[in-house]
Every structure is written in structure tokens, then in C-alpha cells.
């Protein structure tokens, strides 16, 4: 299915604490790449860089960066107060499967709503290397 799109937003996220296991970021990537939904052709990422008519929208970029950063800072502040997972009776810090499920369902619902509204997504993740390297690999 092909249709015109006027804008593309590329968001790059990393773990707030670099000591967090990479597998957690990978789990987030998995949730945003659900089996039930075809996201996009990954090779299309090169179109952003190759297309001669592509221009950065700096004003929107500044606003979007600020929006994303402030949203995450607020969440970090709230989590610092009371949301940190505590060790169980045996000293293990285990996540709650029901909380994971609820969050994943939220992600699925959001993706479905956005797709219905005409948005499209491409998701990448790398445990080693930066976005530039990922995009370079995709191009090849």
C-alpha cells in the first residue's frame, strides 16, 4: 500500500541508566513491533536521507524534542518517588507480569489507533552501535 506522506519524525531513545540490561530496551522494541501488525518496509528508511526534496522542519523538531524530554523527565521524577521495583522475599527484583501485560496492551491499542488515523511506523533497535550505524547497515 502506497500513499503520500508529508512528514516523518525519527525519535531515538536510550536507557536513562546505562547499566540497565539491554534486554529491557529490546523488550520495548519487541512490543512496538507487534506480530499482528505490519509496520513498514525497513529499507524505506533510506528514503529520508536520499530524497532530494526532504528538508528538516527545525521548528517542529525543537518543539517535539522539548515535548518528549519534559514528558520523560516528569515520569522519571514520579518514579523516583514511589515506582521503583523492590526486591521480593528472596532478594530478587522481579517485574510484575500483569503490569507488563497492561503496558503492552496500551502500546498495541495506541499503535492500532494511530495506524487507523493514517500514521505508519518503523522500529529499529541495536544493542551495539548508534542510529547512524544502524541506518548505514539498512542502506547496504
Amino acid at each position: 500500500m502506497s500513499r503520500p506522506s508529508t512528514r516523518r519524525v525519527r525519535i531515538v531513545l536510550s536507557g536513562r541508566d546505562p547499566k540497565d540490561p539491554a534486554a529491557i530496551l529490546s523488550a520495548v522494541r519487541e512490543a512496538f513491533n507487534p506480530k499482528e501488525i505490519e509496520i513498514t518496509h525497513h529499507s524505506e528508511v533510506s528514503a529520508v536521507d536520499d530524497h532530494s526534496r526532504v528538508v528538516p522542519d527545525e521548528e517542529l523538531e525543537t518543539k517535539a524534542t522539548s515535548e518528549a524530554k519534559s514528558a520523560l523527565d516528569l515520569l522519571a521524577e514520579a518514579a523516583a518517588q514511589h515506582n521503583r521495583l523492590k526486591p521480593d522475599q528472596f532478594g530478587l527484583v522481579l517485574s510484575d507480569p500483569k503490569a507488563i501485560l497492561a503496558q503492552r496492551q496500551g502500546v498495541l491499542t495506541w499503535i492500532a489507533q494511530r495506524l487507523a488515523a493514517g500514521y505508519a511506523f518503523t522500529v529499529y533497535w541495536s544493542s551495539r552501535g548508534t542510529v547512524a550505524e544502524i541506518l548505514d547497515r539498512v542502506k547496504k
Binding site: 500500500m1 502506497s2 512528514r7 516523518r8 519524525v9 525519527r10 525519535i11 531515538v12 536510550s14 536507557g15 536513562r16 540490561p21 539491554a22 529491557i24 530496551l25 529490546s26 523488550a27 520495548v28 519487541e30 512496538f32 501488525i37 505490519e38 513498514t40 530524497h51 526532504v54 528538516p56 522542519d57 517542529l60 523538531e61 524534542t65 515535548e67 518528549a68 520523560l72 515520569l75 522519571a76 518514579a79 515506582n83 521495583l85 532478594g91 530478587l92 527484583v93 522481579l94 517485574s95 507480569p97 507488563i100 501485560l101 503492552r104 496492551q105 496500551g106 502500546v107 495506541w110 492500532a112 494511530r114 488515523a117 500514521y119 505508519a120 511506523f121 518503523t122 522500529v123 533497535w125
Partner: protein, 267 residues
């Protein structure tokens, strides 16, 4: 102590629920067990091969990775037989035989025969207990085995059960082992060998990055774009924290204008 013993046997019995999972979720659990039980150096190929099978890639083969493990077990067995009584080597060899048991179960889990699949589940459960027994022998209290093998495994099992039910997985649904998150979470007990093995399998995030590109429809306003960005980062952050992480940070946000792209949609 009696109460703890009862807790352990009850939770160990819960492992039998493995038989209720769809096929590829069962294989994902076997992959997880191998990921935790082997050091990173030895598990990488084997774990990746099982992981690919769980993801539905039938061409993945376990055999090339097994020969290295079998050789290592033979070396440990040999050391255990020497007069210096190298008990840890003996125990380690036995635990690795538990890993082999789990790996051998994978083709059984892929079988169409109900009996063979059921036998495969039994093998994985027995393998898990065998792996756990090494920790039992190398620690001072009997419950430690559950800190390191059974409890995290049951945690994975609970999550897989919930996901299978909620996302309506069946025997044909491939499972990405990544869905289970980090193989190990911080523990307060100092069981050096096992702790090291777990930490090895917990590569730090470091420079890892999650990248999402969102193609915005023509009808969307700037405010719609900002709302989409905010909702995305909030959802990603919430999920990261639910998996036990400390949340996410924005590295960059870039916006581009005027292009034609292929768009995805529901299948």
C-alpha cells in the same frame, strides 16, 4: 524453614504449567533456561539457535552448538573423577547435563505428536531441576536454587501464559524471546559463580538505542505530531519501567518534510 520448603515444592510443581503453553512459548522458555544456565561465552550460539526456533525459524540447527557443550561436559566429568575431588566441576557437569536435557527436548516440542510434546515438557522441567540442584549444592541454604533458577523461570512462565492468553497465541504463533525482558534482575545474594553467569547474560544497555520513525498523515497538525511524540515516549518509558528498567531518555528527535513513503497497516 518448613514453610519455605512447602513454598518451594509448591512453586516447583507450578513448572508443570509449561505443558499448557503454545508450542513456541514452550521453546522460548527452554531458550531462557539455557540463556541463564550457561555462561555467555558458551551459551551464545546455542541460545541463539533455540531462540530462532522459538521465533519459528525451522532452518535453525542446534547440533553444531551442542558438540562444544558436550565436549566441555566431558572435560568437567574428567576433572570430577580426578583424585583432588573437584566437586564443583562434578556439579557443574551435572547442571550442564540438565541444559542438554532441555536442548534435547526442543525437537520433541516441535513434534506434532501430543505424547512427544508432553514428554518434551517433562524433559525441560527435569532439566530445570537438575540445573537448580547445582546451586543447591554450592550454596548454604536449600532455597537458593529458587532464587536463581526456578523463581525467575516461573516468572517467565507467568508472563508467557498471560501474553499467550491475552494476545491469543496458538501453536503456530512465533515467540520472540525478547518479550521476556532481562534474563535476570538484581539479587542481593552472593553466589559468585551463578551471579557471574547471570550478569554475563545481562549485557548493560550502554550505547543501545531504540529508534522509531513515524510517518505522519497529511491531515495531522503540529499539535497532533507533538501529541503522538509525547504518547510514544510515555508508553515506551512505562513499558521499560514495567520490565524493571529505570526508564528512557531522549537522545534526538528529528522531523522531516515532503516525501513519499510506503505505509504499513493492519494485515
Amino acid at each position: 524453614m518448613q514453610e519455605t520448603g512447602r513454598y518451594i515444592s509448591e512453586r516447583a510443581a507450578d513448572l508443570r504449567a509449561l505443558a499448557e503453553l503454545p508450542r513456541f512459548a514452550q521453546i522460548a522458555l527452554a531458550a531462557r533456561l539455557c540463556q541463564r544456565a550457561l555462561s555467555r561465552q558458551r551459551s551464545l550460539g546455542l541460545y541463539e539457535a533455540i531462540r530462532q526456533l522459538a521465533a519459528g525459524e525451522r532452518s535453525s540447527s542446534l547440533e553444531p552448538h551442542l558438540s562444544d557443550l558436550r565436549k566441555y561436559i566431558a572435560e568437567l566429568d574428567e576433572r570430577g573423577r580426578e583424585p583432588n575431588d573437584d566437586y564443583p566441576a562434578m556439579w557443574r557437569a551435572d547442571a550442564l547435563k540438565g541444559v542438554l536435557q532441555c536442548v534435547d527436548a526442543v525437537p520433541m516440542l516441535l513434534s506434532d505428536s501430543k505424547e512427544r510434546r508432553s514428554a518434551g515438557c517433562d524433559e525441560v522441567v527435569q532439566g530445570a531441576h537438575r540445573i537448580a540442584s547445582e546451586q543447591n549444592l554450592t550454596s548454604t541454604t536449600m532455597i537458593t536454587q529458587h532464587f536463581w533458577t526456578i523463581v525467575p523461570l516461573l516468572h517467565d512462565l507467568d508472563l508467557l501464559k498471560l501474553l499467550a492468553q491475552s494476545e491469543q497465541w496458538d501453536d503456530l504463533t512465533p515467540v520472540d524471546v525478547d518479550v521476556l525482558g532481562a534474563p535476570f534482575s538484581v539479587a542481593t545474594y552472593d553466589l559468585k559463580a551463578w551471579r557471574d553467569a547471570y550478569i554475563e547474560s545481562n549485557e548493560p544497555t550502554g550505547d543501545s538505542e531504540l529508534v522509531i520513525e513515524i510517518d505522519v498523515p497529511e491531515s495531522a497538525t503540529d499539535d497532533d505530531v507533538l501529541q503522538t511524540v509525547r504518547e510514544f515516549v510515555e508508553l515506551a518509558d512505562g513499558l521499560h519501567r514495567a520490565y524493571g528498567g529505570t526508564g528512557l531518555d531522549v537522545k534526538t528527535v528529528e522531523c522531516f518534510e515532503n516525501m513519499n513513503v510506503l505505509a504499513g497497516g493492519p494485515r
